[in-house]
């Protein structure tokens, strides 16, 4: 029998003392999100399971579904130190060590009672909506879930941006699938008739929140950066990448966040860390790849203890790229805009596009270099990362470094090894800067 340690409820978390309003608000939003899903059997609401990248939340809401996102559950289990036992449970069921650990955490969680963070069981989904296929594992994941739940499964095929652009054909192909496959099936499962005006309203709300999100992300161009766009960024992207995009709550959240960031900028402050405000900003980094969730705070601490702040990250674009090429959900082109959103997700972009993006981030955010956290079980991100690193180094002349860990498998987080590499990298940046200033003085 395993012992699960949980924090007793109703006791104020002392760490909340260091939290901003937006963080408390977000915590409440997460709690409501899970309650909504686990209360579905009583409320009679139907449940749709779908993935974060390319999620069609605005469309899903048109059919009154509660939206359950399996990666969000895996992340929660990682942060709550539960994913390790789930991953091993999935391995016991026959899933190999190399399989994506989000999947294994999910499968293991189902085997162990399928409990949400609020302690109540997740209801079985009524529909599985696979709206993004840029990650091939998603296909397999939903195959497993379909087997488990025997429910309606909808697949929206998203063509890969292999040639580095979205073509008209791609857009038309996706709109056709939306019209002929996705919407009719969602209508059938939900029993709700599709109303395009309702979709337009949702999209209008999305765009409003997206404007504020981009403002927040771009605030990192300032010195010192008022935000950490990777570790802090995880919190900032929560509502927009999850079940809140297209809601008033998301608009409010991002408005609050924007105000907080403005206040930090006015006061010349850096990011807030779990241990309070960060000290002096010494290194500005661009990161590529997801973070590690099982040792999230420990990993973050290795950065802020050294004065390293992440000014831009590719991971905070995994559920949609809003800053780089100005994409906003467009209520005037409702289905086209959903297609473009799915197509533009970071991991659906070609390697040259990703390189361009990282190079531009380094230049625009005046970063000292690129840090890659390569995830053992995530091919969507990891394939090609070394090549990308070389190319970014070559084009920016800035040093890059590579650390390795995993999403939610605690066995693949070696603190000493990662810390060693990070410290080496920070000292490399110091040396580069010192070398450059000597050369500069000599010139």
């Amino acid at each position: 029998m395993s012992t699960v340690i949980t924090t007793p409820k109703n006791r104020p978390d002392p760490r909340d003392a260091a939290k901003d309003d937006s963080m408390i608000k977000q915590k409440e939003m997460m709690a409501r999100h899970f309650d909504k899903i686990t209360d579905a059997p009583e409320s009679g609401q139907k449940v749709c399971a779908t993935f974060v990248p390319g999620n069609l939340n605005e469309l899903i809401m048109c059919f009154d579904f509660a939206n359950n996102l399996p990666e969000v559950n895996a992340i929660q289990n990682g942060l709550r130190k539960k994913s390790g036992q789930f991953v091993m449970e999935a391995e016991k069921l026959g899933h190999s060590e190399d399989v994506c650990t989000y999947v294994k955490s999910d499968i293991g969680m189902m085997a162990k009672g399928n409990l949400a963070p609020n302690g109540k069981p997740f209801p079985d989904p009524d529909v599985l909506l696979l709206s993004y296929t840029g990650c091939f594992t998603f296909l397999k994941w939903f195959e497993l879930l379909r087997e488990q739940y025997k429910c309606e499964t909808i697949m929206l095929h998203t063509p890969y941006e292999g040639d580095g652009k979205i073509t008209d054909n791609m857009r038309k192909y996706m709109v056709k699938q939306l019209k002929e496959e996705v919407i009719p099936k969602l209508e059938r499962v939900s029993g709700v008739k599709f109303d395009i005006d309702r979709l337009r309203e949702n999209l209008r709300r999305s765009a409003k929140a997206e404007d504020d999100l981009v403002y927040v992300l771009e605030s990192a161009k300032k010195r010192p950066s008022p935000i950490d766009a990777y570790f802090g960024g995880i919190y900032y992207i929560g509502p927009i990448f999850g079940a809140y995009r297209g809601t008033e709550e998301a608009i409010e959240y991002y408005a609050t966040l924007r105000k907080e960031i403005d206040a930090r900028i006015a006061a010349g402050l850096g990011p807030v860390t779990p241990e309070g405000p960060m000290g002096k900003e010494k290194y500005r980094l661009v990161t590529e790849g997801p973070p590690n969730y099982t040792n999230f705070r420990e990993f973050w601490k290795m950065f802020y203890d050294e004065g390293a702040v992440v000014v831009a990250s590719s991971y905070s674009k995994v559920g949609g790229v809003y800053d780089y090429d100005g994409f906003r959900h467009d209520p005037d082109r409702p289905l086209e805009t959903l297609a473009e959103y799915c197509l533009g997700v970071y991991t659906n972009r070609s390697l040259p596009q990703r390189v361009d993006m990282l190079v531009d981030y380094i230049n625009e955010y005046e970063a000292d270099g690129l840090l890659i956290n390569s995830i053992k079980s995530c091919n969507s991100f990891s394939a090609g990362q070394l090549l990308m690193m070389r190319e970014v180094e070559k084009r920016t002349g800035k040093p890059a470094a590579f650390v390795e860990s995993d999403l939610v498998d605690p066995r693949y987080f070696s603190a000493a090894n990662i810390k060693n590499r990070l410290e080496s990298y920070f000292q490399m940046i110091d040396q580069k800067k010192a070398g450059a200033s000597i050369k500069g003085a000599a010139a």
């Binding site: 693949y412 590499r421 410290e423 080496s424």
Partner: protein
């Protein structure tokens, strides 16, 4: 004299390097890391100080004297051996005293005197053997007290206990309780006394060398008088964070290895370091600044410890592996660099009738193949290429590396310094020097 100290706290050994104001190496010291980095650091530093005194003696003696016949070198070697003997005897006395203090409690009841007598006989024998070990050309199993004294103690105590009719486990018990304590005791500071006693012994034989004993005494005494000021110290290696160094006194071992390799071979552009638990591929620029690096992740497959494990599996000494592998006539393919799987593969190949040397050659190749993958991820090999770390002392590993470098990168100059184990410490000492200059 101002000195700059670099200390590399590795997983297996701790190394120290002292340099002077011209960044010239004065002395090197090494000790096993134990589980006590504080002591390891102190011992390594003191060893480097001893080496420094010898360097200073050499400088004094050779200052303006030609040494065509190598007589001064021999004299200095004897001076060092004499010093080492003194040092060994000092620790042996400590070990004996400590062992005696352990003869208490129920299990020794009624046998105190018998055990005490065996100890007297054992240590007398060990003391008697010592001068031969430290005679010119004498052989020692290792340079570490624990290894030398330990193996002889166990052998001699077993024999002596048997003859005296005393249970050997009692002798084992007092030794086990004492050795860590002795090893972790701060070394005695009487460096000067030991040098002078050694000098006396050497001078006594001096007529044989045909050198002026007065000059030797004067030079050695002058070298011992030089005041060594610790101007700046930099620590590196896995144990660095456990030391009471402030942040500015700590450098990453990757940067230290890069810079150390550059100091040894200024044209170095790629460094491979295979240590006890990591393998690192490092690219450096023409001034020794690290441009890129890769290292093993999460698991120490294919690092130095792998060879240690194989040596244990084969019941061989670590240093015997390379020479045996060199005798191989065909290479057996070993796929796994996972330390545990390699043990299984090893037994499997032995069962199939493969020769030990051929299997060993395959194991060495497996390590180097893994290292090649790490280097290629760090950006490949550029001319010149410097190989460092404990595994660089293994000739079979070097042979495989040379082959694979040639196959993959063509003609590249490969540098291996016999003192390459000190690369990280040298880099740290250089950082210490740069911090003040």
């Amino acid at each position: 004299m101002k000195t700059f100290i670099g200390i590399d706290l590795g997983s297996t050994t701790t190394k120290a390097v002292l340099t002077d104001e011209n960044a010239e190496i004065l002395g090197r010291g090494i000790t096993n890391s134990r589980s006590n980095y504080d002591t390891a650091c102190r011992v390594a530093k003191q060893e480097a100080m001893i080496d420094t005194r010898l360097t200073l003696c050499r400088r004094e003696l050779k200052g303006d004297t030609a040494d065509d016949a190598g007589k001064l070198d021999e004299l200095l070697t004897r001076l060092e051996l004499g010093f080492r003997l003194e040092q060994f005897l000092e620790q042996l006395d400590d070990l004996e005293q400590t062992c005696r203090q352990q003869i208490t409690g129920d299990r020794f009841a009624g046998k105190e005197n018998a055990v005490g007598e065996v100890l007297t006989a054992v240590f007398e024998k060990l003391r008697g053997e010592a001068p031969a070990m430290y005679a010119p050309g004498g052989e020692r199993k290792s340079d570490f007290f624990r290894d030398i004294a330990g193996s002889r103690y166990l052998t001699v105590a077993e024999e002596t206990a048997k003859e005296a009719g005393v249970p050997f486990d009692l002798l084992l018990n007092v030794y086990d309780k004492s050795i860590i304590e002795v090893e972790n005791r701060p070394p005695s500071d009487d460096m000067r006394g030991k040098f002078l006693r050694s000098l006396n012994a050497v001078v006594k034989d001096a007529p044989d060398f045909g050198v002026d004993t007065g000059m030797v005494e004067k030079a050695v005494k002058a070298a011992l008088e030089v005041e060594l000021e610790e101007a700046y110290l930099v620590g590196t290696g896995y144990g660095r964070v456990t030391l009471p160094f402030s942040k500015e006194h700590i450098r990453s071992e990757i940067l230290c290895h890069g810079l150390g390799a550059h100091m040894m071979y200024p044209k170095t552009r790629t460094v491979l370091d295979i240590g006890g638990q990591d393998t690192k591929g490092i690219q450096v620029d023409p001034s020794g600044i690290v441009e890129n690096f890769q290292m093993n992740d999460r698991c120490a497959a294919g690092c130095g410890r792998y060879l240690g494990y194989i040596a244990d599996e084969m019941n061989m000494g670590l240093h015997e592996l390379g020479p045996l592998a060199m005798k191989s006539t065909k290479s057996v393919r070993i796929n796994s660099t996972c330390t545990v799987f390699a043990g299984a593969e090893l037994r499997d190949r032995l069962a199939l009738g493969e020769k030990r040397e051929d299997i060993l050659a395959g194991l060495h190749r497996a390590i180097i193949l893994r290292a090649m993958s790490i280097i290629s991820r760090s950006g490949g090999i550029a001319d010149e290429f410097t190989f460092t770390g404990g595994v660089a002392k293994n000739e079979a590993a070097v042979r495989e590396l040379e082959k694979l470098v040639k196959e993959n990168y063509g003609e590249v100059k490969i540098n291996i310094d016999p003192e390459s184990i000190y690369t990280g410490a040298l880099g740290a000492a250089t950082f210490a020097h740069r911090a003040l200059n």
